[in-house]
Amino acid sequence: MKKFLVILILAVLGFHLFEAFSGLGLGVTRFEKGVKDYYLEKTVSELHVANTVTSIVVNFRGFDTLGEVTVLFLAVSAMGGILYKRRHQTGDRSVLFSSSSIVRSGSKLLFPAIILLGVYVFIHGHLSPGGGFQGGAIIATGFLLMLIAYENFSVSHNTLSYIESFAGIFFVGIGLLGFMNGGTFLQNFLPAGVLNNLFSGGVIGIIYVMVGFKVAAELTGLIYTILHEKD
């Protein structure tokens, strides 16, 4: 009876949503001169950055990204607080199976390549698709692979929190340097460079590398906390 009611409500909701959105049209030009055109023009003419999404995320909406990184940090620390245990109760892994030697050798072989791919993705975030968040997630998958394959593989929580804190302080520090040099927080004060060079876009590349380190450390710590959860 309840399922029937839920399906009825969802059908009404779906009908109205579909009616609203199918009238919008797909792939039509929505604005004559919108914020999109401003961003696309400024990205290539002033900032000399190839990837417009990166320039929006890090430069035009840099303060928003600072908040986003803070939300991720809060989520990870809230997780640590919720799953808090006294010291002598921790240690054992919750996933207690030993993987075969093929998996272990294969993941040992793949681990450096995955880390390298992640670093490549976040260093070239302003030139090609990708960026700090994506590269950090790739690095965390490498650590996840090692943590699943090896039962006694461990990462140091202290190192992770040092990397994370340093990256966060560096991000805010660059923002304050922009405040001193240009007048606004996170102002792009470095020279813009040449389009499609690695050193282009001023502070965008530096900030995204820091975001990459921060996200990688946070996600690795999160995976480690969940895997070592034992009831």
Partner: protein, 124 residues
């Protein structure tokens, strides 16, 4: 691409994203297991992201990246603003999922079950 196919695609993409939202809502409203409710929330996330990206699409558009040789191609690029916003939304959704799962682990430690029927004070 011919126009007939594009029209089908138009309804298909909007329909698929709305269907994803509805599937997620159905899971959240009817399922008893807490893990399934969190999975439903993630499916809603995916549907909303697809919907936002679809709104920013431009017919025949390319990715908003100025590769060498395409420095003047700004008129044919899809809208980068929804993509940047969805990037933010993915990260926030990830944080929400992580916190929800850790709360579930904590609940399981207390009650030794994941069914919301058997956990008192969580009934509706």
């Amino acid at each position: 691409m011919d126009d007939k196919l594009f029209e089908i695609l138009e309804y298909g993409v909007y329909g698929a994203s709305i269907l994803l939202i509805l599937i997620g809502l159905y899971a959240v409203l009817t399922k008893r297991s807490l893990i399934k409710i969190v999975i439903g929330m993630s499916i809603i996330d995916g549907g909303i992201h697809l919907l936002l990206i679809t709104i920013g699409y431009l017919k025949g558009g390319t990715a908003p990246i100025f590769s060498p040789g395409y420095e003047e191609a700004a008129a044919q690029m899809v809208d980068p603003v929804p993509q940047a916003l969805v990037l933010t939304a993915i990260v926030i959704g990830f944080g929400v999922t992580a916190v929800a799962l850790s709360l579930i682990i904590r609940l399981y430690r207390h009650h030794h079950t994941l069914e919301i029927d058997e956990i008192k004070r969580l009934k509706w």
